[in-house]
Symmetry: C2
Subunit: 338 residues, 2 copies
């Protein structure tokens, strides 16, 4: 039911995703009366879906705490509950991010030694994709949380991006040791601790993200969200410059016509919809968040991410990685005892 | 003497800038023995410059506190001292940012009611440029400092970008009131206080910067620096995509040849060197920081920014704006007394 465009974008997204990839099946949680007539227009989606009627739904404006109180039996609640019950492999929503996180936490529970979920984005680089987290779940973070993000992101990078030994960088504002705020500096000390067994690269700066300097970029949710949206805005501005240059004179319009295949390839490569789908990490179950403004195409991309997560060995990777976090907290406890 | 490329890039930059714009005169502070032979190769720069011999210089690796202690008589110190003495209108450096700030503060002193300098960047948008600050001078900020940045940035936008009544936005991770960290939320309350007489727009997100939603974007130096570098990295990645698409097949290379004028226009529009030059605001005098990695072309751009600042009415604009800050701190004092 969620997202700025409501159920229509979701159903269209399912239709696109199902036609592109066989074997996908969806439970559509929401108001049957609203969903059924839309589904009738999309035969592929209809054949692959089952509606699960829900009386209520969380709105985009609900505060997370309020949403949580009133959410039992809502479409969002039921979607996550289906993961817990083993009926679904992944829950997906384009709705209220804060509510999605709060409800997921309550139903799925955090993995041991992980304090809060993080949202990871797959960021395009010249070499493929980097995992960037957190991109918006946690506004204020502790150094320990940043280490948890590193552990989660490393498992994600291995399972989803197929990188055997991912390198991990901490986002900072200068490569020199003396720079950065105290939170980042403390996190760097923890990361270097050998028992974590992470391939810790060190600090990276904003321009390193798109350059793909490391496979996993760790940052707090405030900085990560600003970085992600700044990159989206910049890509859109550059796209606009390209359009303006190719349409400014008759001669340039002719060039555009002669280059139409290249420009089409470029457009699809820069389509922000092709990078939709943030994955909530750290809980006993997978939840994927689509952009609220996603249309059918964007939602289909997020569904592809969700299906990829379900088929990956992320959950076993994470089990392995979490042993390291346990070792870290054991070491901290020992130190405190001494 | 500063910057990754040393005096050669500076002299070449002066040469380019002087040839583009008459009436520019430069004092080159540094080791005469090193500068003189370089200057001999650039006649335009030689005619417009005067070397001021300095025995020592601050290196890129010096910690700001150490640099400050040992900096008296260094090239950086002397350049800023020349502004204080009225010999120069602007001081410019491609050297160590932290040292530049620390030395500037000591020599030029802060304007009344401004606590620390901020670095402002002119960020390209579809409508021209937005002023974004702080982009790296202050890693941790208070809400009051963010308001000071707003006041400084507004005067800058009016004086340098020529916007009569600039709108001001606070960088955050969601447009809704309930989002954002406590620092940003407190700053928003202060900004809304009527006696500031600011055209406060409200929160903006990362993608709003490149869209030019507001004329002045206010943020702390950590977030601002990450955003600026992320945008640079993204623009570079997109440029790479354009190059790759236009060279991937013979047909596409032919398209590139037929579109060479458009692509040349695009390249110059996306040249990161055309956005070089951060201005340090808040002191009794103007200091401009060039990227450490700037080559001659980049340094020339920063010199253009510096010359523009010198000719602008920024210093009188700022006097006017500072009265508002004084009113704010008076109001705060009254409240405290009550």
């Amino acid at each position: 039911m969620g997202g700025d465009l409501g159920p229509a974008a979701v159903v269209e997204g399912v239709d696109i995703a199902v036609r592109r990839r066989g074997g996908l099946r969806c439970l559509l949680h929401g108001k049957r009366d609203e969903i059924e007539p839309i589904l009738a227009r999309f035969p592929a989606a209809r054949d692959a879906s089952e509606i699960r009627d829900a009386e209520t739904f969380v709105t985009m404006d609900d505060k997370p705490s309020e949403a949580l109180r009133r959410s039992r039996g809502s479409s969002m609640w039921n979607a996550i509950q289906a993961v817990k019950a083993g009926e679904a492999d992944v829950a997906m929503s384009a709705g209220n991010t804060g509510a999605l996180m709060a409800i997921s936490k309550v139903i799925l529970r955090m993995k041991p030694n992980v304090h809060r979920p993080a949202i990871v984005a797959s960021w395009p680089t010249p070499r493929g994709f980097s995992a960037v987290l957190d991109v918006g779940a946690n506004i204020e973070c502790t150094p320990t949380q940043l280490v948890e993000f590193a552990i989660l992101g490393e498992a994600f990078s291995r399972a989803v991006h197929g990188i055997e030994r991912p390198t991990v960088g901490l986002l900072n504002i200068g490569a020199e040791e003396l720079k950065g705020n105290s939170m980042v500096q403390e996190a760097a000390q923890l990361m270097r601790a050998a028992h974590l067994d992470l391939d810790y690269y060190g600090y990276v700066e904003g321009d390193d993200i798109s350059m793909g300097t490391v496979d996993v970029v760790v940052t707090d949710g405030f900085t990560g969200n600003v970085a992600l949206k700044t990159a989206e805005g910049t890509a859109r501005l550059v796209g606009r410059f390209v359009r303006e240059e190719f349409t400014s004179t008759f001669r340039n319009r002719l060039s555009a016509f002669l280059s139409r295949d290249v420009l089409r390839g470029l457009r699809s490569r820069m389509d922000p919809r092709s990078a939709n789908g943030g994955v909530l990490l750290g809980m006993n179950g997978i939840v994927v968040k689509s952009h609220g403004s996603a249309d059918g195409e964007g939602f289909a991309t997020a569904l592809r991410v969700a299906a990829g997560m379900a088929e990956s060995n992320f959950l076993s990777e994470i089990e392995h990685n979490l042993h390291r976090l346990a070792r870290m907290s054991d070491a901290a406890a020992e130190q405190a005892a001494e």
